[in-house]
Structure formats: structure tokens, C-alpha cells
């Protein structure tokens, strides 16, 4: 499986009369894009805005981030949503580098465990470096679903809008010469290199909070996935829980562990593939079955070592730890990616649960560290913080005011896929 990923650098995005890409400037016909998105009868309203690096802008209620992509050859765009669920990861794909679509909204009717947590991106100031999109030009799409839509229907409408917008923005690249070409494949390598796998439990808690693989929620039996599939749009995020943990579609399209393993394939290791499974399984038996099946498949694939990430928090740690234990007991070396619950002063034990086999752990940082966000001129995405976060005292304030909040509220800040250089260290 070979993927030609052709990159088009975008330095700025502007609204204009006609959508096109010239000289690194993406011009977007705002009305045309809005009416394209509003063809979906489940959407009542969309508002478009642009947020640039360094702007005094705060974006709230973020539901997902997507990199603009256009599948040119060998499959369709975002299979399972905008095209049939046939495999991607081969052929030719165009990407806009330096742009993200940020879709925001409140998911009407969402409450309790089917709720939505606040998530914040600051485009400048000390909090900006904690999120993965403040260095990009962001097209912010605030959506409102039709009245009466359930939270699940609202989320689906927002997702479709984000994916359609991503394809719309990348469409002007058709026929243009790319700035960068990458050829992604896993050719045969020297047999002496260690075979390494990537065990990727993606979050799925129910109908609302989940991760889609070709349009269906990820399952608790490990699926062997070619890394190119994930980089090419096979995984789409629907995680509206704790902001710091979120793995948006953007981070799947640029999955950092996969990128790191592909870069070393043939040099330091042989990348055997991704074992995609599930986090936040609610039944004990199913948790155990997934862990033991993952270890079995890893053994059958001849894997000697595996990176094991996770998504979300709470008992998702247990899914990861059980996988770690089963893999280690099957003779497969593991490294775990976690984030920490070490309390605001860093004094508490960082992890929710552990197993003695977890001897190699990489920390993406303590989500409870307080970060200061200065007042901003512009707030996009909504007009008030979500009421469901009442435990966060700062959220009683106007969203544009100066805030002191835990990293927990900052989009993807301690995400366990490891996109950032943030780390928790022992002092």
C-alpha cells in the first residue's frame, strides 16, 4: 500500500468572491461554502470566521479539527461519511498544510454523561502553545443543528459539516503543482530489525462519544490497520469529553506515533502495523477479552515491541494497563503513553490505575496544571462557557476575559498520542 501525499502550503486564508488557492493564499467564497454546508437538512445555521496565529482570539466549544484533504486517486474522501467505506491509504491525496477546519457548537440537549465539555483554543498568549492548531490558520465554523435534533444528530451534522468543509477547501488544489511530495509505504526491510506494532485504543463510550473507523464506531476486538489508512481519513473523531485528552480527526490525519514509526521503518525497526481497538469499554469481560486478543494477535504477527497509547481518561487507563499486562506476559515489550492527574500543585500520584508490568511510561503532562489565558479581543465559537463545567470556577466569567484554567480545558493539551513536546517530569 503506497500513498502519495501531496502538500500545498497555505500561509493565509481570506474570504473573497471565488474559492481558489494562489501564491499560498486560500481564498474562500464564504456564501458558497455556507450554502454547500446548509444543504444538510439537519443544519439550521452556520457561521464562518478566520482565526490566524497571533490573533487576540479565543475559540470555544470546539467539537473537532480537520485538515483540508482531497482524495484525487485510489478511494474517496472520508470513507464511511462522504464516500463508501472502502479502504483508503493508497493512491494520491492532496492536503493543505497550515490550515485547519475547526467546527464548534453546543450539541443541543446534551447533558450528563451524554454531555459536552468545554474546550478552548487561544491563538496567542501563553496558552497558545498547548494546543495543536494555534500555529495554523483556522477556518472556524460555528454550527447550530435544526431545532429538535438530539445530541447524537447534532454531533453528526457538525461532523458532516467539518468533513465537507475540509474537502471544499482542498478542492482548488486539483490540477495544481504541490509544494511537497511524500510517498508513504512500508516496503520489506532487513529481517534483523525488530518488528514493532502500534496498539491504538481509540475512545468509544456510546453513541455520542466515539471514534469512527470507516464510519462505524471502533470495536473492542483489535483490527489490523495499515498506518496509511489512518493518515488518509479512515479515522474520524467524535470525542466531546475532556478537552485536554481529545484526539481530533486532525491528529489522526497527522497521527504522531504513526509518523514516528514510519520515519524509522527500515532504519531502526520494521513497522508491522496498527492494532486499532477501543478505550472506555464498560464491561470487565470485554476489557479482558480485548487485552488478551490484542496480545494474541501481536504474537501471531511476530511483534517484539509495541507502543500503546490511549484516549480519554478514567477507566480508559485500565484498558491500556490490561493491554500492557497481557502484551508483556506474552513477551511483547511495551511503552505506554499517558497523561497525568497529579493535582494542580503536582503532588498527587499521576495515574488512575497501574499494573506492575508498566515499566516504560511516557507522560504527556499533568492536565491539572493551571495556565493563565489573558483577555482576548475576539471570541469565536460561542458566547458563554458551557454550564456543564460548573466545577471550573473561571467558567462563570465572560469567555473573552482573562482566565486561569487547568490544562484539562485546553484543546488536546495532554493528548496521549504525543503530538506535543509537553511532558510531566519528576522533581
Amino acid at each position: 500500500m503506497q500513498l502519495e501525499l501531496l502538500g500545498f502550503t497555505v500561509r493565509d486564508v481570506r474570504f473573497g468572491a471565488r474559492t481558489d488557492l494562489a501564491g499560498g493564499v486560500l481564498t474562500v467564497d464564504k456564501d458558497a461554502l455556507a450554502s454547500h454546508l446548509l444543504e444538510d437538512p439537519d443544519l439550521a445555521e452556520v457561521r464562518l470566521a478566520i482565526a490566524r496565529p497571533g490573533d487576540s482570539t479565543r475559540i470555544i466549544h470546539i467539537l473537532d479539527a480537520v485538515e483540508p484533504r482531497l482524495k484525487v486517486k485510489g478511494g474517496g474522501d472520508f470513507p464511511g461519511f462522504l464516500s463508501t467505506p472502502t479502504p483508503v491509504g493508497a493512491g494520491v491525496t492532496h492536503r493543505l498544510e497550515g490550515v485547519t477546519v475547526l467546527v464548534t457548537g453546543t450539541l443541543s440537549g446534551a447533558a450528563d454523561s451524554q454531555g459536552l465539555k468545554e474546550s478552548i483554543v487561544d491563538m496567542s498568549g501563553p496558552a497558545a502553545r498547548y494546543n495543536p492548531v494555534s500555529g495554523n490558520v483556522n477556518l472556524v465554523i460555528e454550527v447550530a443543528a435544526r431545532p429538535g435534533a438530539s445530541p447524537v444528530e447534532s454531533a453528526a451534522a457538525s461532523r458532516k459539516a467539518a468533513l465537507k468543509a475540509a474537502v471544499y477547501l482542498a478542492s482548488p488544489t486539483r490540477g495544481l503543482t504541490p509544494d511537497r511530495r511524500e510517498s508513504l509505504a512500508l516496503p520489506p526491510v532487513d529481517g534483523a530489525l525488530p518488528r514493532i506494532g502500534y496498539v491504538m485504543p481509540a475512545m468509544s463510550e456510546g453513541e455520542l462519544h466515539t471514534t469512527f473507523f470507516y464510519g462505524r464506531s471502533v470495536q473492542s476486538l483489535p483490527a489490523l490497520v495499515h498506518p496509511n489508512e489512518i493518515l488518509d481519513g479512515a479515522l474520524v473523531s467524535a470525542d466531546y469529553w475532556i478537552a485536554c485528552h481529545r484526539s481530533p480527526t486532525y491528529l489522526y490525519q497527522n497521527e504522531p506515533v504513526i509518523r514516528s514509526l514510519i520515519a524509522r521503518h527500515g532504519r531502526d525497526l520494521e513497522f508491522a502495523g496498527v492494532l486499532l481497538c477501543r478505550c472506555l469499554i464498560t464491561s470487565q469481560d470485554e476489557k479482558m477479552r480485548q487485552a488478551s486478543q490484542t496480545a494474541k494477535v501481536a504474537r501471531m504477527l511476530g511483534i517484539r515491541g509495541a507502543v500503546v497509547t490511549m484516549s480519554n481518561g478514567g477507566h480508559a487507563y485500565l484498558d491500556q494497563m490490561l493491554i500492557c499486562r497481557e502484551l508483556e506476559q506474552a513477551g511483547v515489550a511495551t511503552v505506554l503513553g499517558v497523561d497525568e492527574y497529579s493535582d494542580a500543585d503536582g503532588s498527587d500520584f499521576p495515574l488512575v490505575t497501574t499494573v506492575p508490568e508498566a515499566t516504560a511510561v511516557v507522560s504527556m503532562g499533568n492536565q491539572e496544571q493551571i495556565v493563565d489565558c489573558p483577555a482576548v479581543d475576539t471570541v469565536l465559537g460561542g458566547t458563554a462557557f458551557l454550564a456543564g463545567n460548573s466545577y471550573e470556577k473561571a467558567f462563570g466569567q465572560a469567555p473573552g476575559s482573562a482566565l486561569s484554567v487547568a490544562l484539562r480545558q485546553i484543546y488536546c493539551s495532554t493528548n496521549q498520542l504525543g503530538w506535543s513536546t509537553l511532558r510531566g517530569r519528576a522533581y
Binding site: 525488530p194 514516528s260 514509526l261 531502526d268 495515574l351 496521549q416 522533581y427
Partner: protein, 349 residues
């Protein structure tokens, strides 16, 4: 800042008094550096001086800890330290425990900052008090020079009140505090690099060290349930309707008590569930699914249990910090004890 004064604590051997035969030696104070203190003094390069040395036999400290520590502390105070340095104790258990005890006492009772050095598996490393920095040393004096260099560097920083960097960078044992930092490599790169080292059998340093949990011996069983008083404790997030106490849906900061005397079951009109970590619809529809009061009352009526305690203890267990959970547990345990409760049903989700 001018030169600051170090008082150095040594055992009988490194203090030049003698070997095991002098292990009972009483605490003594001498001016200037002795033994390893001479090199320590030089390594401080004029930023600090080893002004005095307190020496004491290891056995004396081990066998008469309270009075010996008192005597050592008096001598330390007399020498007017800005900083106390103890050891290095290397792998020696008695010496390590003495260094840790002297440092903790200097910190707590004299308000003097303190630093020691020993190998990580020295029992003294476990027993050190809060705010005592333990530099890592080798297990024997064969690494004396490198160990003293590390100790001197830390001593100068601590004496000058400069903030210390991360434990790995500075070469001290982690104090339990976690600090976020930006580095040069992404988490993904660090994971892959650590994995390659692990697979190749090369040394690697985990960024979080997983401890063994302290075991609690199982409580003895109840001999006769039919006469016993039972209490119910739950972390399922069950609270009174409207959540009058404002228990948080995760990382709860409080636990609550509800009087359940006279209730034959938990009605959805009187109780709800505010746990933020799972779909609570089934529990809100019938709270007995989280706290089986209906079934427990039946057991009480049928005489299978003695009686049910009048108070229900409840909180939200959703990602509660470990230390807070222990504290809540201790508080509730104390109430149960004083109420004469003999056994508990604990429902968690």
C-alpha cells in the same frame, strides 16, 4: 551572595574515628572539613565553606535514636549552618538512616535546608522527610568523587536558594512532585525511542515510575451476619434529588451522608446520580441499582443481617485523586467505627 556555611554530618568511619569498633562513638563537633568534607569543600569552589563537621557512630544513632539525634542537633545548631550536608552514605543502611534523620530534623526543627546523598535502594532514602533532597550516589565509596561532585553542585544550588531542575537532570531522588515542561522531542518520538531501547535491552528511564501499592491486611470476616450492623458506602455518585450538597461530577471534593432510616428503598424522586464518568440513566431511573436498599431491607426483615446502619455514605468516585480517596476513606472509617458498624457494602462503578 557571599560564602555560606555548610555543616557536614559524617559517621565514625568517614569522620576518621575508626571502623565498627567505634560505631558507638558519641556525637562530636569539630571545626572545618574532615575526610570527604575536604573534597566537598573544594568542589564548592569558594561559594560555600565546610565550616564544621559533626561526627557520630552509626550504632549509637540506631540504638538510641531520640537522645542521639537531640545531641547531634544541638551540635549542628552550635555550628550555625546555612545548610546541612550529610554523607554520602552510599549503600550503608544504618548510615543512610542516620543521614536522613539528621537532615529531616535540621529542616524541621532548625529550619535549615538539608541535603544528603546515598544509593537509591538505601533504606534511608525511603525514610527521608519532606523537603530533604537526596542526591543519588553509587552503592560503595568507589564512586566517591563523582558522587561528591553531584552533592556539591546540589548543595551550592540549595544553599543559594536557586530552584532545582528535574530529578533526572540534577541527579537527585524524586520527591513526589510533578512539573510540566516543554522539551525538544514530542511524546510520540519519546515513546518510540524508549521502546527501541527496551526492545534492544538498553537502559531507559520511565517518565512515570509505577509504585507497588501498600498492602492492607484483609479485615477478618464477620462471624454472624444475622446479628451484625452493616453500613453502605458508595462512590457511584448517588446524591439527594437536586444534588443539594453540590457534589462534583468528577474529582469530587466532598462526601455526604444521607439518613436512610425508615426508607424501604431508594426512590428516584428522592435520589439522583451525578457521576460524570458513565451513562447514569439506569441509576437515575432506579437508584436501588447503585445502592440496593430494597434488597438490603428485605435481608434485614428476613433476619439474614442484623440491622442496617441509618446513614448512607456517598460520593463520586470519578477519577478521584488517590490521596483524597484515602482521606475520605479514613474519615468514613472513623465514623463507621464510632457508630459500631461491623461490616460494609461498598458499591463502586
Amino acid at each position: 551572595m557571599s560564602t555560606f556555611r555548610i555543616v557536614h554530618y559524617l559517621n565514625q568511619f568517614f569522620g576518621g574515628l575508626g571502623g565498627e569498633e567505634k560505631a558507638d562513638a558519641a556525637p562530636t563537633l569539630r571545626a572545618g572539613p574532615i575526610g570527604p568534607g575536604v573534597l566537598l569543600h573544594d568542589l564548592c569552589r569558594g561559594q560555600a565553606e565546610v565550616a564544621a563537621t559533626v561526627t557520630c557512630g552509626d550504632n549509637r544513632m540506631a540504638e538510641h535514636p531520640a537522645e542521639t539525634l537531640r545531641a547531634v542537633l544541638d551540635l549542628v545548631r552550635e555550628a550555625k549552618p546555612d545548610l546541612l550536608v550529610a554523607g554520602p552514605a552510599f549503600g550503608s543502611g544504618r548510615y543512610g538512616l542516620a543521614c536522613a534523620a539528621v537532615c529531616s530534623a535540621a529542616r524541621q526543627e532548625l529550619g535549615v535546608p538539608a541535603v544528603t546523598a546515598m544509593s537509591p535502594d538505601n533504606p534511608g532514602a525511603e525514610s527521608r522527610g519532606a523537603h530533604v533532597i537526596v542526591a543519588i550516589s553509587g552503592p560503595t565509596a568507589s564512586t566517591m568523587k563523582a558522587d561528591l561532585e553531584r552533592l556539591a553542585r546540589l548543595a551550592v544550588k540549595i544553599g543559594r536558594r536557586e530552584p532545582l531542575g528535574a530529578a533526572d537532570d540534577e541527579g537527585y531522588l524524586p520527591s513526589g512532585r510533578r512539573v510540566n515542561e516543554f522539551g525538544t522531542k514530542t511524546g510520540a518520538e519519546r515513546m518510540v525511542e524508549m521502546l527501541l531501547r527496551k526492545v534492544r535491552g538498553e537502559p531507559f528511564a520511565s517518565e512515570v515510575v509505577v509504585p507497588a501499592f501498600e498492602p492492607v491486611p484483609p479485615a477478618p470476616p464477620v462471624r454472624d451476619l444475622s446479628t451484625a450492623t452493616l453500613a453502605v458506602v458508595t462512590t457511584s455518585g448517588l446524591v439527594g434529588a437536586g444534588n443539594p450538597g453540590g457534589v462534583e461530577s468528577w474529582r469530587a471534593t466532598k462526601w455526604e451522608k444521607y439518613d436512610i432510616s425508615g426508607l424501604s428503598e431508594l426512590s428516584p424522586d428522592a435520589f439522583t446520580c451525578v457521576h460524570g464518568g458513565y451513562d447514569t440513566r439506569h441509576i437515575r431511573a432506579n437508584p436501588n441499582r447503585a445502592v440496593p436498599l430494597d434488597a438490603l431491607r428485605a435481608s434485614e426483615r428476613e433476619g439474614r443481617i442484623g440491622r442496617l446502619h441509618d446513614v448512607l455514605y456517598t460520593t463520586v468516585g470519578n477519577v478521584m485523586p488517590v490521596l483524597r480517596a484515602s482521606q475520605f476513606g479514613r474519615e468514613i472509617a472513623a465514623e463507621l467505627r464510632s457508630a459500631g458498624v461491623e461490616a460494609a457494602i461498598f458499591t463502586a462503578t
